[in-house]
């Protein structure tokens, strides 16, 4: 498994039977590939699908929230943007998985702008992290040697204090009232490696090997 696959497969374990889930673009999209078929998870796409299915090469007017040709599962529904964001903002989404440029020990997230360099816009990300019951951030632990898991985000925020769980190729961390807790470490790394690669302060108590990863 490459790093992205490690992150996606670990996050898939967080999804529970019956969950309504919104996956962001990039690594989060891969999470769907690791949900076993007998676990009934419904994916929502904010452009207006309840019951998003896999991508397709066939001619279709159905696209996912990244504009890619997609399918709808049997029993699914097409909805308009206001109803879609009623799901998202009204607390009806159980889990959202989103990428980020930075995340910090207070659960604040930066994902939509690098001032002066890149301004793609927030799309639905601000609504998702504010409205979903559980927010999982999927990201590489470092960028060019610099930690992306920080004491405090340096880039403009997507939202403050909204991340619940952070999953990287190295570790699983949970945002607690008391701080950022290191829960699991990938078998390729040691706790020391994670501490070195993390700018945030970590609460280290009972760390176990990353779940779902074959050694």
């Amino acid at each position: 498994m490459n790093e992205k696959e490690v992150i996606a497969s670990r996050i898939a374990l967080e999804l529970k039977e019956g969950d309504l889930v919104n996956l962001g673009i990039g690594i989060p999209t891969l999470v769907a590939d690791y949900v076993p078929e007998d676990k009934h998870v419904t994916f929502q796409a904010e452009n207006g699908i309840i019951g998003l299915g896999p991508l397709t090469d066939e001619e279709t007017n159905i696209v996912n929230a990244g504009g890619m040709k997609a399918t709808i599962k049997k029993g699914g529904a097409f909805i308009d943007s206001t109803l879609s964001f009623t799901f998202i903002r009204g607390g009806h989404i159980d889990v959202t998985v989103l990428g980020a440029l930075e995340v910090d020990q207070e659960g604040s997230i930066a994902s939509w702008i690098i001032p002066g360099k890149k301004v793609p816009g927030m799309g639905g990300a601000m609504d998702l992290v504010t409205g979903a019951k559980k927010v999982i951030i999927a990201l590489k632990h470092t960028n060019k040697g610099q930690s992306k898991v920080l004491k405090k985000c340096t880039l403009p925020l997507t939202a403050a204090h909204q991340a619940n769980l952070i999953v990287t190729e190295m570790a699983v961390l949970s945002v607690e009232k008391s701080g950022l807790k290191l829960l699991e470490v990938h078998p390729d790394y040691t706790v020391e490696d994670v501490i070195k690669a993390t700018e945030a302060e970590l609460i280290i108590d009972n760390v176990v090997p990353m779940k779902g990863v074959a050694i």
């Binding site: 007017n61 696209v63 308009d80 799309g123 639905g124």
Partner: protein, 217 residues
Amino acid sequence: MRGFIKKKDFKDILKDGISIMVGGFLTNGTPETLIDYVVESKVKNLTIICNDGGYEDKGVGKLIVNNQVRKLIASHIGTNPYVGQLMQEGKIEVELVPQGTLAERIRAFGAGLGGILTPTGLDTIVESNKQVLEVNGKKYLLEEPLGADLALLGGAVVANNGNLKYKETMRNFNPVMATAAEIVVVEPFIRVEEIDPEDVITPYPFVDYILVGDDNE
């Protein structure tokens, strides 16, 4: 519904400086023919309200590339690099709005509401210059209603009397935009005789004009 409209009559509606809402999500459900006519008309200083900036050769991106847009109100512009370039040159004003807030601001205008209260955007750049109100101990941003002079809808299954439903994911922003503009013009994706009343998404009173073929313009 006021009636069917051809290319020439549609172009007569267009004026410099008007605001136009355009349905679609990354151009899925965007009325491309109507946009082509706006490009041909060469009207300038437009305010465009759309989920995103489209692509350079598709959707509202075509208007931006043709330098007809003074201001873009959207949630995402990452798929159209030309928008970023114009922003840096100071040639376009871009108001980035969280997607749910964009939908709700449009809904508020269409529903006659004075605005909406939402926690989305609190403690971020989106909060700048906006009122923060507290209701039952929770903080919210006051977001103002958003309407337009003209709405251009696509992806629609159009009945002869102007009732609409929408094909698959092309629904997105189209139904809410139908409620929030002075004049609403629909580019049919499919024409049908009628739509079962239980299936109508946008009832005909919201629709002003339906584009029909420009056989003799």
